[in-house]
């Protein structure tokens, strides 16, 4: 049996090829952990604009997500925790009106991604009921409690990280860098994974695959973290 399925690509630039202007880009990570920094840098080199970026945070300092705002590539951000120290590139884009913000409770963000991944039309949740974030949304009382209708959040592209990956796209994450990566991998049309190491097929035990390769389109090895 020959090798038919091989999702491993040789470079980051090859991995991000095909991302288009105006795409909805899901970016894994929580704070600076599990953020696909190399893929973001590839996206900056590609120079695609008018992106909608969906990620828990909006980047800090001069690396990772912050680069997308620094280079004026984002017209809309969807995040739960954008206001944090060191987010000056996002703040500049937001305050100039270049980038709009949709603030989403963290659990609602995860579940909207999951709804998209699972082909659901949305869900009702008590989270956000009676708050400013309920504005403009359909509500319903279920079992005596006010619920808010939240819609699925689907990506054109997902940029995710993993510790290990194989040619089938199977991913194994490490510690709290798993965070949003598996659900984002499942919620996009094109899922691109940067991994610390590409390992031979079969060497991630099937019981230890966290994100099944069926959800992953491209895998690129970027090596370990820089010290």
């Amino acid at each position: 049996m020959g090798v038919v399925i091989d999702k491993v690509v040789a470079s980051v630039d090859e991995a991000v090829a095909g991302v288009r202007d105006g795409d909805v880009v899901l970016v894994g990570g929580f704070g600076n952990v599990g953020v696909p920094v190399a893929l973001i840098e590839g996206l900056v080199r590609l120079g695609r604009r008018d992106l909608t970026v969906v990620s828990n945070n909006c980047g800090t300092g001069e690396t990772g997500l912050a680069l997308l705002f620094k280079h004026h590539l984002v017209s809309r951000a969807c995040a739960s925790f954008p206001a944090q120290a060191g987010n000056h590139h996002f703040v500049a884009a937001y305050e100039s009106g270049e980038c709009a913000l949709e603030l989403v409770p963290q659990g609602t963000l995860a579940e909207r991604l999951r709804a998209a991944a699972a082909g659901l039309g949305g869900f009702f949740t008590p989270t956000g009921a009676g708050t400013d974030l309920m504005a403009g949304k359909e509500t319903r009382e279920i079992d005596g409690r006010l619920h808010v209708l939240e819609r699925p959040l689907r990506g054109d592209v997902a940029l995710v990280t993993a510790h290990l990956g194989d040619r089938f796209g199977n991913l194994r994450h490490r510690r709290s860098s798993r965070n949003f990566n598996p659900v984002m991998a499942m919620a996009a049309r094109l899922t691109i994974a940067q991994v610390e190491e590409v390992v031979p097929a079969g060497s991630i035990d099937p019981d230890d695959v966290h994100t099944p390769g069926i959800f992953v389109d491209r895998v690129v090895a970027v090596g370990g973290r820089e010290p």
């Binding site: 929580f30 704070g31 600076n32 952990v33 599990g34 739960s80 925790f81 954008p82 206001a83 944090q84 703040v91 937001y94 305050e95 913000l101 603030l103 989403v104 409770p105 963290q106 659990g107 609602t108 963000l109 995860a110 579940e111 991604l113 999951r114 949740t125 008590p126 989270t127 956000g128 009921a129 009676g130 708050t131 400013d132 974030l133 510790h163 994450h173 490490r174 510690r175 709290s176 860098s177 798993r178 965070n179 949003f180 990566n181 598996p182 659900v183 966290h210 973290r225």
Partner: protein, 221 residues
């Protein structure tokens, strides 16, 4: 006039009420101080919304794992019995009512248990994080905050004026002056900090308080 408990004493007072064996989430800010007051020999499981059940304390310098942080993005460790999950599972824990106690900071708590803790009125850029999920989903929501704000205005109020995190979600409030319980009929005083009398608590609180006979009596301290 007394300041009552110090911040550390408030955290210790709250920690005393966390049952052994509880699954808890301590929010970022003041609630993280509670951890230090749960002795290692008490088995309490700490949940962190970025996918950790069984979070341990900050590691010694030089032993940080860049893949392992708490909800405030600070380095942490894993305790015996820990597990890692992704965000959907972590918020299934929160939203599915599996947490026994969520401890949150507060800007305002109303007499009905409404909580405002994520954004001041009129602020352009707010961050909600997991606060709305924790407030709506945990079995018990305890708020740890100073009794009054920096200008001396009550933070326990009849109606919140800051944007809500969740309505009718707070069960208990731990402040420097007192421990309050949100009951159907209003706010009940559970305990006064040493040196704080009923009159002082009343004057620092923006909502009616319900007193038991024992607590309303003059304090001997």
């Amino acid at each position: 006039m007394t300041e009552g408990w110090t911040t550390d004493q408030m955290a210790a007072r709250l920690a005393r009420d966390i049952p052994d064996g509880a699954y808890v989430n301590l929010g970022i800010g003041m609630p993280t101080l509670v951890t230090a007051h749960i002795p290692a020999d008490r088995e309490v499981m700490h949940h962190s919304e970025n996918g950790i059940v069984g979070m341990g304390p900050r590691p010694p310098a030089g032993e940080e794992d860049p893949d392992l942080v708490d909800a405030g993005k600070n380095p942490c460790t894993l305790a015996l019995g820990a597990s890692i999950c992704d965000h959907t599972v972590s918020f299934t824990i929160i939203r599915g009512g599996r947490l026994d106690v969520a401890v949150l900071g507060g800007m305002q708590v109303s007499a009905r248990g409404d909580l405002a803790n994520w954004r001041v009125a009129g602020q352009a850029l707010g961050s909600v994080g997991g606060a709305m999920d924790l407030a709506a989903g945990a079995k018990q929501v305890w708020v740890l905050m100073t009794h009054t704000d920096k200008s001396g205005r009550p933070k326990v109020v009849e109606e919140c004026t800051y944007p809500l995190t969740a309505a009718r979600c707070v069960d208990r409030v731990y402040t420097n002056l007192a421990v309050l319980q949100v009951e159907a009929g209003g706010l009940a005083v559970v305990e006064l900090a040493p040196g704080v009398d009923a009159a002082e608590l009343e004057s620092s609180t923006g909502a009616p308080l319900r007193w038991s006979a024992a607590l309303a009596a003059p304090q001997d301290t």
